[in-house]
């Protein structure tokens, strides 16, 4: 307890989530996976669609978790990357006849590049200043998408309609053998699930890797990290790039799922929603991304069903309730449950 105490107490904006606690235990993960695999077989198409959106927003929140919870950089601009990914997929599918699955890696790489480039000037900013810069990006995006200059590709204010993909021939024929039919919604859901799991596993590995440690060193104490030889500039921009890339993939999936892209779907409201999703899920806790996603999809609807005229107020109240009860988000719930289970085991 020496002078080091003063350093730590000063300005640690993003809480450090210990590496160990960054994921769910294997048991819980498998149970969750089973649920995600089986539920769509039992419910209607619309619910399947909602579950697909749940996964998609979960991916976007996860991306933000890597950026903020991992490397400590704020972003209120994720909606911009989501939009770029969405439009990339839409344009490639509708104007260039590219297969929908192929559009995702393209969207991802493109957004990675944009994010990486954006990360460069962002290097000089932090905290509230970075928030402002990303906010500017988010507000600019819908306007840029509406620009007459791009209208040929983007469809201007009206946007573009995206064709919903069918399950591939091979899968269809295999299923008819079992006398099952897979709806478009169901196929898209499982496709998204595969992408989600792949991204989740890669992200966990990223955060456990050397790069991940570099991110977290930067998050906890940037000056110290750089003094220890961490290439702060590289890792910060890398974090932005990775986060943007993943958000882009989510955007692409979103475009396919919703079958529609339009500038006003990607406003600052989306960026704020993703931010709230991250907080409710637990900043830096990757599994929480799905809880956060559920919050931003279902709670506004809940609020509206409680009171049409005051839906915003009800939403605000519900949000306050959540943050009063669990200021650290779903991660806190998970930790408390873990402790309870441990106590019960002791009996």
């Amino acid at each position: 307890m020496s002078a080091a105490e003063e350093i730590v107490a000063e300005g640690q904006a993003v809480e450090a989530v210990p590496k160990r606690a960054m994921t769910l235990g294997t048991g819980t993960s498998l149970v969750l996976l089973a649920v995600l695999l089986l539920v769509p077989l039992l419910v209607k198409n619309f619910i399947i669609f909602q579950m697909t959106m749940l996964l998609i927003y979960g991916i976007a929140v996860l991306a933000l978790n890597i950026l903020t919870g991992g490397s400590g950089q704020f972003s209120l601009g994720q909606s911009a990357f989501y939009a770029i990914g969405a439009y990339t997929s839409a344009i490639l599918m509708e104007h260039f006849d590219v297969n929908y699955a192929l559009t995702l890696p393209i969207a991802g790489i493109l957004c990675f590049a944009v994010g990486f480039l954006f990360g460069q000037p962002a290097l000089r900013l932090s905290g509230v200043y970075l928030a402002l810069a990303t906010f500017a990006l988010a507000t600019a995006m819908p306007q840029l998408l509406k620009l007459g200059f791009f209208e040929k590709w983007t469809g201007g204010v009206q946007g573009l309609v995206v064709t919903k993909p069918e399950a591939p021939e091979a899968v269809q024929s295999m299923l008819t053998w079992f006398q099952l039919k897979m709806s478009q919604d169901m196929w898209l859901y499982y496709f998204t699930l595969v992408v989600t799991v792949a991204i989740y596993i890669s992200s966990v590995n990223l955060l456990r890797s050397r790069s991940g440690r570099a991110f977290m060193a930067i998050r906890d104490n940037e000056i110290a990290a750089s003094a220890m030889g961490v290439d702060v500039a590289l890792y910060k921009t890398l974090a932005f790039g990775v986060s943007a890339g993943i958000t882009g993939v989510a955007g692409g999936l979103g475009a396919i799922a919703v079958q529609f892209v339009a500038p006003d779907s990607y406003t600052i409201t989306l960026a704020i929603a993703l931010f709230l999703g991250m907080v409710v899920g637990g900043v830096g806790w990757l599994p929480g991304s799905i809880v956060g996603s559920a919050f931003i999809i279902f709670v506004p609807n809940l609020a509206e069903s409680i009171s049409k005229g005051l839906s915003g107020a009800v939403f605000g109240v519900l949000l306050f309730l959540v943050i009063f009860l669990v200021p650290h988000g779903a991660r806190q719930v998970a930790m408390v449950s873990q402790q309870l289970i441990a106590k019960l085991k002791q009996r």
């Binding site: 307890m1 020496s2 002078a3 105490e5 003063e6």
Partner: protein, 237 residues
Amino acid sequence: MTAMLNVKDLRAYYGQVQALHGLNFSLNEGSLTTLLGANGAGKTTTLRAICNMVRSTGAIEFEGKPLASRSTETIVRLGIAHVPQGRGTFTTLTVEENLQLGAITRRDRVGIVSDIERMYGYFPVLKQRYTQQAGTLSGGEQQMLAVARALMLRPRLMLLDEPSFGLAPLIVRDLFEILGRINREDKVTILVVEQNAQLALELADQAYVIETGRIVMAGGAKQIANNEDVRKSYLGY
């Protein structure tokens, strides 16, 4: 002589980790006591516990009043000044503003002004830099500022956490001399936590030695200084 500060069975915790394991000690009014110990022994924790800056259990009484349930600022207002580790200077404010803040709970404007002059008398370098942003001062100067700020409270008890840290030996000598004067002339009871055992033992009249959260030795400063174990462990000879 009455005990000004009474500490009974003090246990302190940082989260789940217990740092103090039942301390018992007291400070007599007008005494100058030093608390010695190695790094991590619990010296700083003890001072913080007195000011309720860390979670603790046990009974701490100051002039007969219990401190346990009071907030830090209330405890300060009772007359306890704490010069924290790392000095806690208001780096974005000027030197003079730092001094004014030391007296922010006092009402007597004339007394405050004269006290500031008195501080400049003790620490002339502060007068030279009085409009400078405190964060630009050197470590030694900031330490002096921190002590001066504490004195502006006109405290009855002053707690100092490693005031010699990072200071050149000559400056430390001067600082300790001033502390001695304050103790004798202004009748301020002082508890000094120090790693620099030699100087601390020369200055103090009472001493405690703390090891991993427990007091292992207590007595007069000279007596402790002559103790063979202490000499080997803390004085280097």
